[in-house]
Every structure is written in structure tokens, then in C-alpha cells.
């Protein structure tokens, strides 16, 4: 597929806007009256429509248009916000989302999608409901307006449309026709003008679709002046002429006649688009509106005069909408435009969109720079020229800053990912018939974008799992003395070079005994084994394990948690479960902050160099003679009263050459576990660019990658979580590791 960059931007923007729309809608469910949220929803829909229009995605445009109509009603306060309405809007958002791909690929929509679209449009129209007045706006010019045939007191007599199609007219505010309301002054006839002549003239501009004559103002017989004019005309004109041309028809009668002209919907659309396309410098409301022919000069000056007069305190936009029948949507768009052009500068400097590939390239180069920098520093140290050493040191410091900034570019807050789950929780809780709320904390915690992209699916699984299995039914909860409303929580924070993401629920917790039985039944645990409760809980991450009694369509098919664990592990992360029966379960995911560059701590084993992520290093110490014995006999050392499991890397990696005279211990910590790693030499900190190992080495345990040292040598990066697991696994537990 050959997608041009503009389309990519369109797709990305659409998705973002739909997400925003969804979030605002969900927030609206809690605060139905919030005007800002409603505006945000409307803006999102409006922008989507505008951009889709630019690419000629007509189906998206027309669907979004229906949505927009409904939102407009909501904004005008003509419809109350209800949960059913919100559900409909959410589904409409989903529908737009599903239209993106086929539209971009220029494929026709599948019949299923089309059917769904039609159904949604019907629902939207039903919500709009009731007869909708012509888009002429509210009647503000006094009782005379009621002379329009449809509102006349002699309504029965007045239904005299040539092509009476009242049903069509009331069903939807979408019109193909210009609506022209003419309310003639009493002197028109005396001044030698006949209203009919305007109708004849209009007919030269297009097709008069319908015309209704209103005569409500006709006075009683005795008071009627035969030479005065009392009629009004309501005309629907099918014409491609613009507003100025139509207005010109009434130039001669302007002083004697109230003329209100409402453009057809597609003209409104065109005007909305034109407003979007205006250069940013266009600042004043009147300028914006006349630039897109939404208002003609005479109307504008009348409105401005009204605004200037002390008696009229309405803002210009309102005057135009109420007195000159400029569509409210157009004025809104123009006002928004006005605000945008004010904010445009500030916003421009706040956000730019960058191709992720460019960013990756930058980070790669920075990686090389870091390596080269370390090399230079090493050479400088070797040369021993103080000035050069100093210069190399300051160079390296700058390189470090560049590295941090470059990595920072990739960092995104996890909040956006978390927010997506509001919808999931809402939908799934309805599906399950449970009352569940989502609590989000630590949304501002940042992590690498590539990690964020890959964490969505595992989180989805965990959240669904928590809702389906973790949380009990409302009745069970109340019986257990808990609040009927359950909570699922998402939390994120930084902890020693990792980001920790917790998915918690306040449900029933894990039943250790049940898991144990199941594990034995599934052959995951020897019947004679005696594992700790924590070890038993971890079993739910084993392949083929599921405790759900009933298989629901959400989860419980036994292909859940092991997949989650695998995806987390491919991100060099770990997953563990904490649970207390009766009070809830928390799944703790620990992920590296970034996948590219770390601060490392280098150690030596014989001639080989190894790098540990500095974040996991707690302390280093020399391995004393007494400790040495303890290590070789028990595999534990005592550090200031704390007993730590120890792994001798020489043994672990099978290195026998050049046995060192002295050995050192690096105490590392990962999560809650501390352990000691026995190495020969401690070589200090360095910047490490992680290069993944080739597929060939993927089976290697205890190694997570490689890096190139300043000297050009290759050092292996130790997989600390993996090593710790090995130390732990050394304890006899009887768990059969699958």
C-alpha cells in the first residue's frame, strides 16, 4: 500500500481524535453538564469530518455529519445527555474508527460496515427526534416571524406548499435548499414593488423547490388597507448561486423587507471547510464569515450597527445567527477558528509530529556517539595528557546529555494507554453485569514509546481477567461486606530503573488451594511438592493453566496468563502476582525504562567483560575468605546480617581460565529480591548501548544483549532478572518448571 505522508497523518490524527472523543464521552457520563467536555467531543467530530472531507472520504464525512448534528443539539441543550445517548455516541466513534482503514485504502466499505452505518444513522436520527425547524435559528425578531406558514395560527389553511413534503422537512435539518424568508414591509406595494417579482427573479437563479405564502398579518376586514402589503414568503430554492448573488436579488427591497437567508447544508459544510482552510492571520469574526461568504456585506454592517448600539448587548455571532440566519455551526466554527489563530503560535511550539523512524535513527546515531565518546575518553586517559583528559570528560558529559534528551524524545506518559481502559472497563462491566470502576494513578509516569506500544495487549488481558475472574458478582460482594461497586486499578511508577505497572482489583483474590489442586491435576506441580503460597500463585502464569469454572467469552480458556507473561518477558520485563484471598489481586509488571541505552556497570571475569545495568547494582564488596567458604558451601552470604543468595558467575558461565586471586561481590536487586553475583574485577560505570543478540544466541540464559566498548571489544550484558531467577531456582522447591 502506497500511503502518502498526509494520509498517515490523517490516520494518526483521526485515531487520536477518536480517543479524545471517547475519553471526553466517558468523562461526560460522570459529569453530564460539563460544557468543555461536550465541546471537546464536538470539536473532535468536527475535525474528523473536516479532514475526511479534505481527502474526499465521503462516507466518513456523511456519517460524521449525522453525529455532529446530534452533538450540536446536545450543545444547544436541546437534548439531555443520557447514558443511552452516550453509548450511541461511543458506538458511532467506533464506527468511524472502522471506516478509517477502508477509506484510506480506497476500498468500498464492507456490506456489514455499511449496514452498521445505516443502523447507526437511523439511531442518530431517532435521537434527534421531533420536528426540527428550518435552520433559520431561533425567532428573535418578534412575533412577526410567526407569519412563516408552518407556525401560523391558521396552520390548517396554511399548509400550502406547492410540493408539500412536510415529513421530509421535519425529519432532519439537512437541507439541499436555500431557505429564504421574506417578511415584507407594509409599504412595499405602494413603493411600486411586487413581492411576486422577486419570486420570478429568484427563479432565474435556480429552481424554486417550494414556496409558501403566509398571510397571518392580514388584518381584520375593517382595518385592512388595500394598498399595504401583509404577506410573507417562505421559499426553498435549489441553486448553486452563492449567498451574495441571492442577496443581490433583494437589494431594492432591503429597506422595506426583512430578508433571512439560510444556506443549504452542503453550503454550510463548504463554509465550515473554507473556515478551516483560511490562513491563520484571519482574525475577526466578521472577516472570517465574509471570507467564506457566510454573510454578505450589508448583513454584516447591519449586525455590526446593532452590536454597536447600546440597546443590543448580544455578541456579534449571536446577532448574526438570530437575525441574519447565519447557521450557528458556521459561526461556531468561525469563533473557534478565531480562538485557534490566537493559540496557534503557542501550540505550534508545543507539539510537532515526528516520524518514529527518524527518531530511531537519531537514537542509533547517539548510541554510536556514546561508544565513540567512551573510546575517546579511554584513549585520553591512556595518553595521560591532562588537558585532553579534561576535554574528553566534558565531551562525554555533553554526549550523556544528548543521550538523555534523545531518549526523552521517545518517552511518553503511560496515561494515554491507561485511559483507553476506561472504555474497556465500562463496556466489559456492562457485559458482565458487574458494577466496576477504574481507578488510574501514576498516569504521568513515562516510558519508552516502543514499550508502550507493546504493553497494551497484555494489560488488556490482565484488566479483562481481573474483571471477569477477579471481581465477584455484586451480591457476593455485598454478602462479603464489601461495597457493591468494585474497583479495578491501574497504577504506574518508576522504581530503580524500571517502570512498574500494577493491575489491581479488589475482588475475591486467588484461592491458593484451588490453584494447587488444578496445578497438580494439570501436571504442573508434583503432588508431593510443598511450594510456598507465593510460588503457587505464580503458577497461573504457566501455559495451559486456567481456574475459571466457566469459560466466558472474555477469558478463561487457559490461553491467557502465559501469553501475558511471554509478552512481558520479550520486553525484558517480569510479572508477578500478589494476592490476598478475599481482598483482591494485584499483578505487578516490571519493565525496563528503555530498550536502547543504559548506564552500565562493567565487571571482569578472566579476560572477558560483562555489563550490568547500573540501576540494579546496590553495592559492591570484596569477597572475604570467610564469605568465600560460605559461598562454595551453601550458596549464601551474610551481608550485615542479611542473608543473600549468591551466584558465582565463573561457575554459571563455565569460565575456568585465569582464576583470580581475589574475587568481588556485586549485590544486585530486582524487585523485592536481592542477590550477590561473584565476579573477578569491578571495572566501573560506563554508557552502554544495548545491541540485541542474534537469533542464534537467543537460547543463551543469563545474557540479555551485547555492547561494544570504547576499545572496540564486545562485552555481554547480563540478564539480571534471569540470573536472580536462577539463584532462586537453586532452592529446592519441587516446582516443575514448564
Amino acid at each position: 500500500m502506497d500511503l502518502n505522508p498526509a494520509l498517515d497523518t490523517f490516520v494518526a490524527e483521526c485515531r487520536e481524535l477518536l480517543e479524545q472523543m471517547e475519553q471526553s464521552l466517558l468523562a461526560l457520563e460522570d459529569q453530564p453538564g460539563d460544557r468543555e467536555l461536550l465541546d471537546a467531543v464536538f470539536r473532535a467530530a468536527h475535525t474528523i469530518k473536516g479532514s475526511a472531507g479534505m481527502f474526499g472520504f465521503d462516507q466518513m464525512v456523511s456519517f460524521t455529519h449525522h453525529l455532529e448534528n446530534l452533538l450540536d443539539k446536545l450543545r444547544a441543550g436541546e437534548l439531555p445527555f443520557s447514558s443511552s445517548l452516550s453509548a450511541l455516541l461511543l458506538r458511532s466513534g467506533d464506527h468511524i474508527q472502522s471506516m478509517i482503514a477502508p477509506s484510506v485504502a480506497e476500498e468500498p466499505l464492507s456490506s456489514e460496515l455499511q449496514a452498521r452505518g445505516t443502523a447507526l444513522v437511523a439511531e442518530l436520527a431517532a435521537m434527534l427526534g421531533g420536528p426540527v425547524a428550518a435552520p433559520a435559528g431561533k425567532s428573535a425578531s418578534g412575533p412577526a416571524t410567526s407569519a412563516a406558514p408552518k407556525h401560523g395560527s391558521l396552520a390548517d389553511d396554511l399548509a400550502v406548499f406547492l410540493h408539500s413534503d412536510a415529513a421530509d422537512e421535519s425529519a432532519s435539518p439537512i437541507t439541499r435548499y436555500w431557505r429564504i424568508s421574506l417578511q415584507f414591509g407594509t409599504d412595499v406595494l405602494r413603493n411600486g414593488m411586487d413581492p411576486m417579482s422577486f419570486v420570478r427573479y429568484l427563479a432565474t437563479l435556480g429552481d424554486v423547490h417550494s414556496l409558501a405564502t403566509g398571510w397571518d398579518r392580514l388584518p381584520p376586514l375593517a382595518e385592512m388597507d388595500p394598498e399595504s402589503c401583509y404577506v410573507d414568503l417562505e421559499i426553498e430554492l435549489d441553486s448553486s448561486a452563492d449567498r451574495t448573488a441571492i442577496e443581490a436579488v433583494f437589494d431594492f427591497v432591503r429597506d422595506d423587507c426583512v430578508v433571512r437567508i439560510a444556506p443549504p447544508t452542503q453550503v454550510v459544510d463548504a463554509q465550515l471547510k473554507a473556515i478551516d482552510a483560511l490562513p491563520e492571520s484571519t482574525g475577526r469574526l466578521g472577516e472570517v464569515l465574509s471570507a467564506v461568504h457566510a454573510v454578505a456585506a450589508p448583513e454584516l454592517s447591519t449586525a455590526l450597527a446593532k452590536q454597536a448600539s447600546a440597546s443590543d448587548e448580544r455578541p456579534l455571532g449571536q446577532i448574526l445567527v438570530e437575525d441574519s440566519a447565519v447557521p450557528a455551526a458556521v459561526v461556531d466554527a468561525a469563533v473557534e477558528r478565531q480562538q485557534q489563530s490566537r493559540q496557534a503560535k503557542a501550540q505550534d511550539s508545543r507539539l510537532i509530529r515526528i516520524d518514529a523512524d527518524k527518531l530511531d535513527q537519531l537514537i542509533n546515531i547517539v548510541g554510536e556517539l556514546v561508544i565513540a565518546g567512551s573510546g575517546t575518553q579511554a584513549l585520553a586517559a591512556k595518553a595521560g595528557i591532562p588537558d585532553v583528559v579534561e576535554s574528553a570528560a566534558s565531551l562525554l558529559r555533553l554526549v550523556e546529555q544528548v543521550r538523555d534528551s534523545a531518549l526523552g524524545l521517545r518517552m511518553v506518559a503511560i496515561g494515554a494507554t491507561f485511559q483507553r481502559f476506561q472504555r474497556v472497563v465500562r463496556d466489559v462491566s456492562r457485559e458482565l453485569g458487574k458494577d466496576i470502576e477504574l481507578a488510574i494513578s501514576g498516569a504521568e509516569t513515562e516510558l519508552d514509546k516502543s514499550v508502550v506500544e507493546r504493553i497494551g495487549d497484555p494489560l488488556m488481558h490482565l484488566v479483562r481477567n481481573a474483571m471477569d475472574h477477579g471481581i465477584e458478582s455484586g451480591m457476593t460482594r455485598v454478602a462479603a461486606g464489601k461495597s457493591a461497586r468494585a474497583q479495578v486499578s491501574l497504577n504506574a511508577y518508576h522504581d530503580s530503573g524500571s517502570i512498574v505497572i500494577e493491575v489491581g482489583d479488589d475482588g475475591a483474590g486467588l484461592n491458593v488451594e484451588k490453584i494447587r489442586r488444578k496445578a497438580i491435576e494439570r501436571g504442573l506441580l508434583a503432588a508431593s511438592a510443598n511450594p510456598t503460597p507465593q510460588e503457587i500463585r505464580q503458577l497461573i502464569f504457566e501455559p495451559g493453566f486456567s481456574t475459571a469454572d466457566a469459560v466466558s467469552n472474555l477469558s478463561g480458556r487457559g490461553v491467557g496468563m502465559d501469553v501475558v507473561r511471554r509478552s512481558i518477558e520479550t520486553l525484558r520485563g517480569t510479572i508477578e502476582i500478589q494476592s490476598e484471598e478475599g481482598t483482591g489481586t494485584t499483578v505487578v509488571i516490571r519493565l525496563p525504562l528503555t530498550l536502547a541505552i543504559i548506564d552500565g556497570f562493567m565487571v571482569g571475569l578472566g579476560a572477558a567483560r560483562y555489563v550490568l545495568p547500573l540501576d540494579v547494582v546496590v553495592e559492591c564488596m570484596e569477597l572475604s575468605e570467610s564469605h568465600r567458604n560460605a559461598v562454595s558451601e551453601q550458596g549464601f552470604i551474610n551481608v550485615r546480617g542479611e542473608v543473600l543468595p549468591v551466584l558465582r558467575l565463573r561457575d554459571a558461565f563455565g569460565i575456568s581460565e585465569g582464576a583470580a586471586r581475589r574475587e568481588n561481590v556485586v549485590v544486585v536487586r530486582f524487585g523485592q529480591i536481592k542477590a550477590g553475583l561473584v565476579v573477578d574485577e569491578l571495572l566501573g560505570e560506563l554508557q552502554t548501548v544495548i545491541k540485541p543478540l542474534g537469533k542464534l544466541f537467543s537460547y543463551l540464559q543469563g545474557i540479555s544483549g551485547s555492547t561494544i566498548l570504547g576499545s572496540g571489544e564486545v562485552a555481554l550484558i547480563l540478564d539480571v532478572p534471569g540470573l536472580i531467577k536462577r539463584v532462586e531456582g537453586a532452592r529446592p522447591t519441587g516446582i516443575v518448571v514448564a
Binding site: L154, D157, V160, F161, L162, L189, R190, D194, P195, M196, V199, R200, S210, L211, A212, T213, W215, L218, L221, M224, P226, E227, C229, Y230, V231, L233
Partner: protein, 91 residues
């Protein structure tokens, strides 16, 4: 059945509006139980004239008397069609 016949002729425009209104008033005062309108000799009809017809129509409706357009002319037909009033004065 007491039917009042009203025949208007010539130019039903603003210049003749006062006369037309008198004729209409007259016809309404005659007190017939129905009205029959003959416009076959009308050569011109403008908005002022139409207003008179509308006045007649409204008064008839108010007093519950049927109004029938017994005969019309091309000029009348054209104007009533243009203003969407043909249904009101069905022959």
C-alpha cells in the same frame, strides 16, 4: 341554498385594490350561505389583488361559508400557482 356570486374582472392590481376590497366587503355582507367566485375576466393579478382574495378566503373560513372558485383565467392560475395558493382556491 343562498349563494352569493362575486365576479371580479379586469386588472386586480394595486391601482384597483381599493375598489376590489369594496367589492369583497360587499359580497361578504350579502349574507349568502356560500360564495362563488368568478375570476374568468381577470386580466392581471398582483400581490395586492391576491391579498384581497386571501381576505375573502379568511372571512369565509371564519364565518363557515364555503368559497368556491367557479371560474378563473390564465393570469389568475399563473399567479396562484406561483404563490403556492392554488389549493386554497380550488375550482
Amino acid at each position: 341554498m343562498n349563494i352569493t356570486n362575486l365576479k371580479l374582472s379586469g386588472e386586480l392590481n394595486i391601482y384597483a385594490a381599493a375598489e376590489t376590497q369594496q367589492a369583497v366587503q360587499q359580497a361578504l355582507l350579502e349574507g349568502g350561505s356560500a360564495l362563488s367566485l368568478d375570476l374568468s375576466d381577470v386580466s392581471e393579478l398582483d400581490t395586492a389583488g391576491v391579498q384581497q382574495l386571501l381576505l375573502l378566503h379568511r372571512e369565509c373560513v371564519h364565518s363557515g361559508r364555503p368559497l368556491r372558485l367557479a371560474a378563473s383565467s390564465p393570469a389568475v392560475d399563473e399567479t396562484l400557482a406561483l404563490l403556492g395558493l392554488r389549493k386554497l382556491f380550488q375550482a
